[in-house]
């Protein structure tokens, strides 16, 4: 259930199988990976260099120059209803959204894989407890749970990361648990045990290395879903608190002007699409590369 699979409740494993069956040439994988990394790399660079690329202040209002169209002097992508520069706001929004997406992916990835790996390897009571907790979290509708959590914790960047982590670590835990259960009876793991390697080492250096590809690939495509989720929260007014910019809030603010001032919604929308495309390409390239091995 992470967010992306909440749309269709097929399991994560099924999702991965489908993805793996799509076999393409390794050149295709390299191309996907290269383009994806390029897109995300450029966006991250732009986010980091926001202050250099655009000297304007992302939250300073300039009412007399409000709603200037793209191409206006000093405002290549125009200004919003409060006269703030759209390009500048988009650059600073990239900072927020990419940072939140990375945090909201890495945290559940790390927690879920760690918990799932231990449960899968240990089995017994530990496994039953973890599986029970995972199933309980899975039983809730994702969006409802997330929005409830944001309500309880109050809006803000840490809230978004905590809420997404609480909800989506279970997908990684289940995926890792199933993979480790399959892996732990493989001869190379038994051989490591016979060699007298400590369990910590068998898990960390042997099993994890052989199973990590799938959770990481899954995380990449989950990042797309998380960006959409942040956007949705922003749209519902539960996202990053104003006046700090994020793409979702920008689109939400643009709502009254959809028909009259298109640029307010279209540019942040394009940014979201580009981020999603970049992350999907990376996920696709990685999964193809790992499957080829």
């Amino acid at each position: 259930m992470s967010i992306s699979s909440s749309l269709s409740r097929t399991g994560v494993a099924a999702w991965y199988e489908r993805r793996s069956r799509r076999r393409r040439s390794s050149r295709g994988a390299d191309a996907s990976l290269a383009i994806g990394v390029a897109i995300i790399g450029i966006m991250m660079l732009a986010a980091l260099l926001a202050g250099v690329l655009s000297p304007a202040d992302p939250i300073r209002q300039d009412i007399p120059n409000a709603l200037a169209p793209p191409g206006t002097d000093g405002h290549p992508l125009g200004t919003d209803a409060l006269g703030r520069d759209v390009l500048t706001r988009m650059l600073y929004a990239a900072r927020t959204d990419l940072f939140v997406a990375v945090g909201a992916v890495l945290l559940p990835l790390a927690i879920g894989v760690a918990v799932g790996t231990i449960a899968g390897y240990r089995g017994g009571i530990v496994d039953r407890v973890v599986t029970g907790v995972v199933n309980v979290v899975f039983a809730f509708p994702v969006m409802v749970l997330l929005i409830a959590l944001v309500f309880i914790l109050g809006p803000g960047i840490p809230t978004i990361i905590v809420a997404v982590t609480l909800v989506s670590w279970v997908s990684y835990a289940r995926l890792a648990r199933d993979l480790v259960r399959r892996e732990r009876s493989m001869d190379y793991v038994l051989a490591a045990k016979v060699s007298g390697l400590p369990t910590r080492r068998i898990l960390g250096r042997h099993i994890l290395r052989n199973i990590i590809a799938q959770p990481v690939t899954f995380a990449m495509s989950d990042a797309v879903a998380i960006i959409l989720f942040i956007t949705a929260l922003g749209f519902l007014g539960l996202g990053v608190p104003p006046p700090a910019p994020d793409w979702g809030t920008m689109i939400a603010d643009a709502q009254p002007y959809f028909t009259t001032h298109w640029w307010l919604a279209v540019f942040p929308g394009l940014a979201i699409c580009a981020a999603g495309l970049g992350l999907s390409l990376i996920a696709d390239g990685l999964s193809q590369k790992w499957n080829a091995q």
Partner: protein, 277 residues
């Protein structure tokens, strides 16, 4: 008579089958009371058809399987599944499937060095690298293998690497679970020859598992025949293979492959026999 290195008494292993209803029907009796002992320096064979409980017995000996009942004694001390460091080191295993028994993502060197360092068998990284190279020499693999991953090697080569890994910790008992049955017949002899040479040079004791009596004849001193979780016959290779007393052993003999004899001038070599009557 010398004290046995390995002594297995009344070993029983029962698995829950997951099928059937209650009582005895839901259990698989893989090993049903097995006794045998292996003397220091000898090669002891456990033969039997597939499913007769050989691997389960071997797993109990190396500590991968908890016996349901029975005792295993090694060098005079009881051997639990949670054995101490020294006992674990002393008993090593060669696996049947050379394709799944090496970690696909680790280079041969990294895998060997890891074992050497965990057991503090080499002082420092350089010493470990040197020792890993020596291990490769020992099993007849080129040192260039250190930087390669398992997929660069054939089945026979991988089995040699598996042997190198087992020898890394300088064991006294080597358990080989059908070490050549997954290999091409053309390569089997060379791997068996290597095992025999290593056994002699290093003074290893060997528990050799096979379903093939021809292979056992080449390599072993004594043999126990397993059927359906029990030992049905035991004796020297000469006795059991020339005058089998159990019907079952006769069937096995008839099924043995016709392996060319190993080119080894062993003093205690059994007289050559055809494997089929």
């Amino acid at each position: 008579m010398t004290e046995p290195l390995l002594d297995v008494r009344d070993l029983v292993v029962t698995f829950a089958s997951g099928r059937g209803w209650g009582g005895d029907r839901g259990r698989i009796h893989a090993v049903r009371g097995v006794d045998f002992s292996v003397r220091p320096g000898e090669a002891f064979a456990l033969v039997g058809e597939s499913g007769s409980g050989k691997s389960t017995t071997a797993k109990c000996v190396v500590g991968l399987q908890k016996p349901t009942r029975g005792s295993i004694t090694f060098a005079g001390a009881p051997l639990d599944p949670a054995r101490d460091h020294g006992q674990r080191r002393a008993i090593q295993m060669i696996f049947q499937d050379p394709y799944s028994s090496l970690n696909p993502r680790m280079t041969i060197g990294a895998a060997l060095i890891e074992i050497l360092r965990v057991h503090r068998l080499a002082a420092g990284r350089e010493a470990a690298e040197r020792r890993a190279a020596e291990l490769l020499d020992l099993v007849g693999m080129p040192r260039s293998a250190l930087d390669q991953r398992p997929r660069a090697f054939s089945g026979g080569q991988r089995q040699r690497l598996g042997i190198a890994r087992a020898l890394a910790v300088e064991p006294s008992l080597l358990v080989a679970d059908e070490p050549v049955s997954a290999l091409d017949v053309s390569i089997q002899a060379s791997v068996l020859l290597l095992l025999k040479q290593l056994q002699r040079e290093l003074g290893l004791t060997m528990l050799f598992i096979s379903h093939d009596l021809a292979v056992v004849r080449q390599l072993c001193d004594r043999v126990a025949v397993m059927a359906d979780g029990l030992i049905v016959e035991e004796g020297t290779v000469g006795q059991v293979l020339t005058e089998p007393s159990a019907d079952f052993t006769r069937t096995l003999l008839a099924a043995a492959t016709d392996l060319p004899p190993l080119d080894l001038d062993l003093e205690h070599r059994q007289p050559k026999q055809r494997s089929t009557p």
